[in-house]
């Protein structure tokens, strides 16, 4: 286990030094800031309009203060306006996260083989299985950090804009994380067979969303769409924790099977 952790730490260190990855993460951050600014502008213009309407109406009645019912109305308007923005925010961070995951996992082992650095690492008492699992774990740690950052960003976003988080979006960082691990494991397996870029594209389009039962591909290919909460956020539907548990179990089963296949492939792969 110690060896796997050492490889994972090395993998994280390598990823932090990847300019493209840092660029992707910065782009994701920029997207978050852009959404915050957009949301704030929209919110201010809505309050301004509501207030000016209220003043115009009050001038005829001789009062300028907002009544309790007017305040409730304003809050409801801001809340209804926030749902598409929360869904948009979720969609952007989820998409950026998927790109980050594909990049991380498809290059984790492949770049070591391409650069030849794997030769020195595997000349140490490190088995191929330990190497692969270490690299995967390093990627998982980076994706967990990404999920944590997006969670914090979402809460900060909600706090600064003064609205409650949509009940569906509260589970989104975890479900997003599970989905990205599925994508990542598949990208890693495919990168042992084809070029990392092709592996990423194949993994991205590997979902079963294009098929429906009784097509066998529907049952074989991963079901990423179940992890998306975009429509739940828009409609404001609740997500049951039992559904989350089942989805988590599905994701971990999928990852375990794919990793076993990757280990099997990697054990016989020529590394020069």
């Amino acid at each position: 286990m110690k060896t796997i952790l050492l490889i994972a730490a090395d993998g994280m260190r390598a990823l932090i030094h990847q300019r493209l990855l840092v660029g992707l993460m910065l782009a994701s951050l920029a997207l978050t800031i852009a959404f915050s600014v957009l949301m704030n502008t929209a919110r201010n213009s809505m309050i301004e309009k509501f207030t000016s309407d209220r003043i115009a109406a009050a001038q005829s009645k001789g009062s300028q203060a907002l009544s309790e019912s007017e305040r409730r109305q304003l809050r409801a308007q801001v809340a209804s306006m926030s749902s598409p923005f929360q869904a948009g925010f979720y969609g952007a961070t989820s998409f950026a996260g998927s790109l980050v995951a594909l990049f991380i996992f498809s290059t984790a082992v492949a770049s070591e083989i391409r650069r030849g650095t794997i030769r020195l690492t595997l000349s140490k008492p490190v088995s191929r299985t330990q190497f692969l699992l270490g690299k995967y774990l390093g990627g998982v740690a980076v994706m967990a950090s990404y999920a944590l950052i997006t969670s914090v960003a979402m809460f900060a976003f909600a706090q600064t804009q003064g609205f409650d988080l949509n009940p569906a979006i509260k589970w989104s960082p975890w479900l997003m994380f599970c989905q990205q691990l599925m994508l990542g494991s598949l990208a890693m397996l495919l990168s042992l067979l084809v070029h990392p870029m092709i592996a990423s594209v194949l993994a991205f389009f590997s979902g079963n969303g294009f098929y429906s039962p009784p097509n066998p591909l529907y049952f074989i290919l991963p079901s990423y769409s179940e992890f998306g909460v975009f429509s739940d956020v828009l409609q404001g539907t609740l997500i049951d924790w039992k559904d989350v548990a089942i989805l988590s179990l599905y994701a971990f089963d999928f990852v375990a099977i794919i990793l076993l296949l990757a280990i099997w492939r990697f054990r016989t792969k020529e590394l020069v």
């Binding site: 060896t3 650095t117 595997l122 000349s123 140490k124 008492p125 020069v272």
Partner: protein, 308 residues
């Protein structure tokens, strides 16, 4: 116990569509004993690096088997006793020198308390103490090679596999490296060294193997390999008929101040000449084997052409 053993080891590469096959290693059977310094020689494409990659389990053999310390090379645990320096040292460039060595030391299982001392010792050994805190990406080729040597020796391994170890070193570095190899040899380490620089191999190796087109052409100590080379026979004066008979052989005969010197190029010629002299009652006063340099052995072996 043998440190390295290969049994009919073969490696064939196939092209993408399996139409063309290239044999990198052919039925190679070798044994390197513990404490031996063994040279792996051969022209470019002879199969030296492929053999090393097979020993490190970086590539899989098409047939045959390879063992390190009598354990299959697929057992990564045996790498605790192994240090490896590749031909081109590709390092994780996001580390500083000392941090990189710390990572490798941890992988080798060097206890945390001992790492600092071990790292300091190997940095001193390869003369990289001043560059220990420098980013590896800023290292020159020679510095990368030296930190490559350092990582190979971090855990004081019993076996060192060195693939063209001095390729990127300047003459001073090469000399230091030769001294280092001799020191390691004195300490009883087993070393497998692949090199194009024959003088370097000659000065440190106990035995050498010469590969060509993936096949083993010759193996043995330098003495064994030079045996069967040319021999000079010194005899007293001979009669005309004997001289005529000698002229019919491939031996070179020279006469100087009453002494005849017969130079026999190989064992077969020597045996023919000795038989002839014996039949004619000519006494052989002295025999001298001409010692061949490794360069000569290597070139004569390669000139013989591919092994059938």
């Amino acid at each position: 116990m043998s440190a390295i053993r290969t049994e009919n080891l073969s490696k064939t590469y196939k092209s993408s569509f399996g139409r063309n096959e290239t044999s990198a290693v052919r039925m190679l059977s070798l044994e390197v004993k513990e404490g031996e310094v063994f040279g792996l020689l051969g022209p470019n494409g002879a199969g030296k690096t492929s053999t090393i990659h097979l020993l490190l389990n970086l590539i899989r053999p098409t047939s045959g088997a390879a063992f390190l310390f009598d354990r299959p090379v697929t057992d990564s645990d045996v790498h605790r006793r192994l240090g490896y320096l590749p031909e081109s040292v590709n390092l994780h460039t996001y580390y500083r020198g000392r941090a990189l060595l710390n990572f490798y030391a941890a992988l080798c299982g060097v206890p945390a308390g001992e790492r600092e001392n071990r790292i300091a010792a190997v940095l001193k050994l390869v003369d990289l103490e001043d560059a220990a805190e420098k980013q590896v990406s800023k290292y020159s080729k020679g510095m990368a090679q030296r930190i490559g040597v350092a990582q190979a020796m971090l855990h004081d391994p019993d076996l060192l596999i060195l693939d063209e170890p001095t390729a990127s070193l300047d003459p001073v570095g090469r000399n230091q490296f030769r001294e280092l190899l001799l020191e390691l040899k004195r300490r009883g380490k087993t070393i497998l060294i692949s090199s194009h620089i024959l003088s370097e191999v000659e000065s440190v190796c106990d035995r050498v193997a010469i590969l060509e087109n993936g096949a083993l052409k010759r193996v043995g100590t330098l003495q064994e390999l030079s045996a069967g080379g040319s021999t000079r026979l010194f005899v007293a004066e001979m009669s005309g008929p004997v001289m005529n008979a000698l002229a019919a052989t491939k031996a070179e005969v020279t006469w100087f101040q009453g002494q005849v010197t017969i130079r026999c190029q190989d064992d077969a010629v020597r045996q023919t000449v000795e038989q002839l002299l014996l039949e004619n009652n000519v006494e052989i006063l002295r025999r001298e084997s001409e010692k061949q340099s490794l360069d000569e052995i290597f070139l004569s072996t390669i000139k013989q052409g591919p092994t059938s």
